[in-house]
């Protein structure tokens, strides 16, 4: 077992041929992102225009019903909306008016497209424009699609953020925008680190409130905290902003390299960088080391889920000493994940898309020590004697930056430790 980070000498996985699969995909649709986005954006309401299935998904995907003041709901299409008896737009206007009158605290309303609304070609973009005119300036209405036919799981957040880029104000200021929904506590940590590096003009996107939406322009640079933000990346680039490419800020190494890339962009001197990062780096290393004892030398297999698979595999391989067998991801955005792929030594299968039955065959034959997969697969795989980490926890738990590095490693080590703890044999 090595002590330090396991940085490969050879070239990484960036040029590994990708196994592309097109079969049954066992993944969530983009509506799922609403579960965390509605908590992050405190004056926003997410109105899905869809079916009973959409409402049921939101209720089920949360794992428990989040009964604390849901700022989301589903306008369920009924037979008469489809048969053209009712003008769906009139119905929508009525529901939105009712909703906004009951919730005067709402400043931004997202009309979220679903599979049925896309298939019947209900023009929610037009509806959003119309409703913005009606409810301005109190409420801004924006449309994006979280439909399963267009988005997979975390792509819902991407679509939501990309839809907000066109309404950002213009600025010529030299500013850093940190992009990707983070828990407030993590956001505050990141802000403190960046401020300590002397980077003062930092904003976060998505913003906690509508008023705090970042402005953007040719002097804006942005750094992504999540690998699934391809469309947002493209939209920001179109507005003239420039992306700072880096590994994603998971673990000690990922966070340091992410901060280093930002620091380089802002000309932070090395001494200051070392001074600011030394203590949290040491803490993160120490916290990871505790879990590394459990994880090192063990193998891991990723089913596609959140698009976090590549950076997480990078973390587990580099910093926890694990051996990746397959890294499956719903969509591989090489431009964004390239820096992480570079750090993963060649060896694992990199797969994109899914044919779930074939992939289950591969997983069972590879017999990994740990399988990272969705909720639908976890218990069935446990029953076949594979240890699993269900992936949705990775998007519902604070895992970014130094202070969460140990928690992140802990999410993977816990199933392994647990299986060592449990004994059901007779004492003899």
């Amino acid at each position: 077992m090595k002590d330090g980070p396991n940085i490969p000498l050879s070239t990484g996985c960036r040029d590994t041929p990708v196994l592309r699969e097109r079969g049954q995909r066992e993944v969530f649709c983009g509506l799922t992102g609403i579960i965390w986005l509605h908590r992050k954006m405190q004056d926003a309401f997410f109105l899905v225009v869809g079916s009973r299935t959409c409402a049921h998904l939101l209720q089920s995907a949360a794992g428990v019903m989040i009964f604390a003041e849901p700022r989301f709901g589903t306008a369920i299409l009924e037979e008469k909306d489809l048969a053209g008896l009712a003008d769906a737009h009139e119905e929508l206007d009525r529901e939105v008016a009712r909703l906004l009158s009951r919730r005067p605290d709402i400043r931004q309303l997202f009309l979220v497209g679903s599979c049925p609304s896309e298939v019947i070609k209900l023009d929610l973009a037009r509806a959003a424009e119309r409703l913005t005119r009606v409810h301005a300036p109190q409420v801004r209405v924006v449309n994006f699609s979280g439909s399963g036919i267009e988005t997979t799981f975390t792509q819902g957040e991407d679509a939501c953020l990309a839809a907000q880029v066109p309404i950002m104000g213009d600025t010529d200021a030299r500013e850093l925008v940190v992009v990707g929904a983070l828990p407030d506590v993590v956001e505050d940590q990141a802000k403190a680190l960046l401020n300590d590096l002397g980077i003062d003009k930092v904003s976060f996107f998505p913003s906690r409130t509508a008023d705090a939406l970042p402005e953007i322009g040719p002097n804006t640079v942005f750094a992504l905290t999540q690998p699934f933000l391809g469309d947002t990346h493209a939209a920001l680039t179109r507005r003239g902003a420039r992306h700072i490419s880096a590994p994603f800020p998971f673990g000690e190494v990922g966070t340091t390299q992410w901060l280093a890339a930002v620091a380089a962009e802002f000309g932070v001197d090395q001494d200051l960088f070392d001074r600011v990062t030394a203590a949290p780096r040491a803490r993160a290393q120490k916290a990871i080391a505790a879990h590394r004892e459990t994880l090192a030398g063990k193998s891991v297999f990723f089913f596609p889920d959140s698009q976090l698979e590549v950076p997480l595999a990078r973390f587990l391989v580099n910093e926890c000493g694990m051996d990746a067998l397959e890294i499956g991801t719903p969509y591989l955005h090489k431009a964004l994940c390239g820096p992480d792929l570079d750090l993963i030594p060649q060896g694992p299968i990199i797969s994109e898309g899914q044919d779930v039955d074939k992939q289950l065959d591969r997983a069972l034959s590879a017999n990994p020590d740990l399988t990272v997969c969705g909720l639908g697969l976890a218990n069935p795989l446990e029953a076949q004697n594979l240890r699993t980490k269900w992936a949705i926890e990775l998007v519902f738990t604070p895992v970014h930056f130094y202070e969460q590095a140990g928690d992140l490693a802990g999410l993977f080590s816990r199933p392994l430790r647990r299986s060592e703890m449990l004994h059901f044999e007779a004492a003899e």
Partner: protein
């Protein structure tokens, strides 16, 4: 269009999944977009199943819509047949696939698979989960049941249990045992646990035991018409209902078999003096119609509660539940909008709720105890221990479950006596529920919710039970208000409401301590 936050029932194809997942050697090929696979986790996580549901989703995407989703479906069908080798396949569409009109049933029939292929028509924009169960099971039975001789010995089928059902697993065990005591052998229990080959053998039984009308009534009716199998009308939940059920079985079977009631404890527990405090507890009952009907009878006749409100979310049974409401002297609430249910519960101010997981959350917000009696279910509704709702053991389980949320008998008296004690005060809640009583806040904690309450999305609703009336019509004198706060939390809402009604009736504009006790005497029961 209807704005919905939480739903009591999923879409109808989830009902079909519950039937398929309960069965063996059956496969469901579901034309559905990616994302609809979320439904798998209901079974693998909530019910802790160790197998994936036997469902192949076509998971079409936007790019497929322009090309050929029909051949995608046929490929999925063929792959599923070859990989899983089921005895029969059911095929259908989810809400989105229904819109693209590929006709999965028609497509599958043309494929010439060497096993029965059963098409399902489940209108996603009109119907819901329970209908999906009922219709799917009906179609499976209609396609597979074979005419045959009745068994030489007396047999019955058990109809209705599905995957993800509220205590279905244990109800089947309990009722199978009860039937055996009475001299009736179970031929097939279905859909849960049955294979298509066993479904074919359904008509061999002499009659059917319909456990859950929600999920199997259509099949029971069809079997009665086409295979000369009468079915039971009583659902054996509760002591009285189980006795009625036994009487029904004796008639159907022409038997005099007896059931051993030595392990039935509910009647004695309800009679024992410790239960005196249960007398007249006001309960609000909401859930699926079958469980609500059973619960109302148990609540009144076997626990000595007062039913102060009831209703169900499945409209198919609206007429039955309205009739039940008339029998109990309350207006039945038929709705699948949980905000309406919450409003009705606030209005009725019950001392306990018998409901679903949704009402459990409502109760949590309102500070009212709740026992779960019906689906929708959550992981805790699949306990590791044996805990049926039906038969004698079911009655025992119900007694324990319903008493648990309440403050215990002697404790209730002590709370009345020492309600101003700074540690042992009523806001601390029932002692066996853990939680550490905080010091008493002057005036007590508000009886309702917190800042996070979803009442925020229904601002028009009355916010809890304000201690001082603000609409100007009636004013509580300060002393009366203080006295009101001394009344234990679980009856404070009712006392306030009664006192105000009493005052209004008499044209009073102010409420004094005197008025409070006048009203108490007036409403004394």
């Amino acid at each position: 269009m209807k704005l919905t936050v939480w739903t009591y029932e999923g879409p109808p194809h989830v009902g079909a999944m519950r039937v398929a997942t309960g069965m063996k050697d059956l496969h469901y090929v579901l034309h559905a977009p990616q994302g609809d696979t979320y439904a798998d986790l209901l079974f693998t996580m909530i019910e802790r199943r160790d197998h994936r549901p036997p469902v192949t989703f076509t998971t079409f995407q936007a790019r497929d819509l322009g090309s050929d989703t029909a051949s995608l479906f046929k490929d999925a069908c063929l792959d599923a047949y070859e990989r899983f080798k089921p005895e029969a396949i059911i095929v259908g569409a989810s809400c989105t696939a229904e819109l693209i009109q590929d006709d999965p049933g028609g497509l599958a029939e043309t494929m010439g698979l060497p096993i029965p292929v059963i098409p399902l028509e489940l209108p996603s924009y009109q119907r819901k989960e329970n209908f999906g169960c009922d219709e799917t099971f009906f179609q499976i039975v209609r396609h597979l049941a074979q005419p045959q001789e009745k068994t030489p010995h007396l047999t019955a089928n058990i109809l209705g249990p599905t995957g993800l059902g509220f205590r279905h697993r244990d109800d089947v065990t309990e009722i199978t045992g009860l039937l055996e005591e009475l001299g009736v052998t179970v031929n097939v229990a279905a859909p849960m646990g049955a294979s298509p080959v066993e479904i074919a053998r359904l008509p061999a039984a002499h009659f059917n035991v319909l456990l859950y009308p929600e999920t199997a009534e259509a099949a029971a009716r069809w079997l009665e018409r086409n295979h000369d199998q009468p079915y039971t009308k009583t659902v054996p939940i509760g002591v009285g209902a189980t006795q009625d059920f036994i009487a029904e079985i004796r008639t159907l079977a022409g038997l005099e078999g007896r059931s051993d009631i030595s392990r039935l404890r509910l009647p004695w527990y309800a009679k024992s003096v410790d239960s005196t405090y249960l007398t007249g507890k006001r309960v609000f009952i909401f859930g699926d119609a079958t469980h609500v009907k059973a619960a109302a009878r148990i609540a009144r006749d076997e626990m000595g509660f007062e039913v102060c409100g009831l209703g169900c979310y499945n409209r198919e049974f609206a007429r039955d539940i309205r009739a039940l409401g008339r029998e109990f002297g309350v207006d039945a609430l038929i709705t699948d909008d949980y905000l309406e249910v919450e409003a009705a519960i606030m209005e009725a101010a019950p001392e306990m709720i018998l409901g679903t997981q949704m009402e459990r959350h409502i109760g949590k917000r309102l500070g009212i105890g709740c026992a779960v009696i019906s689906a929708p279910v959550h992981v805790q509704d699949f306990p590791a221990r044996y805990s049926p709702q039906m038969g004698w053991e079911g009655a025992n389980v119900i007694f324990d479950t319903w008493v648990h949320p309440l403050v215990m008998g002697l404790e209730e008296h002590l709370l009345h006596m020492f309600r101003e004690d700074f540690e042992f005060h009523d806001d601390a809640g029932a002692s066996h529920h853990g939680g550490h009583p905080g010091p008493r806040v002057e005036g007590g904690q508000p009886p309702v919710g917190d800042a996070d309450s979803p009442r925020d999305i229904s601002g028009s609703m009355e916010a809890g039970v304000p201690v001082v009336q603000t609409d100007g019509s009636i004013v509580w004198e300060e002393a009366a208000e203080r006295e009101l706060k001394k009344i234990p939390f679980f009856v404070r809402g009712k006392a306030k409401r009664n006192t105000e009604a009493f005052a209004v009736e008499r044209g009073m504009s102010e409420i004094s301590i005197e008025t409070l006790y006048e009203a108490k005497a007036h409403f004394a029961r």
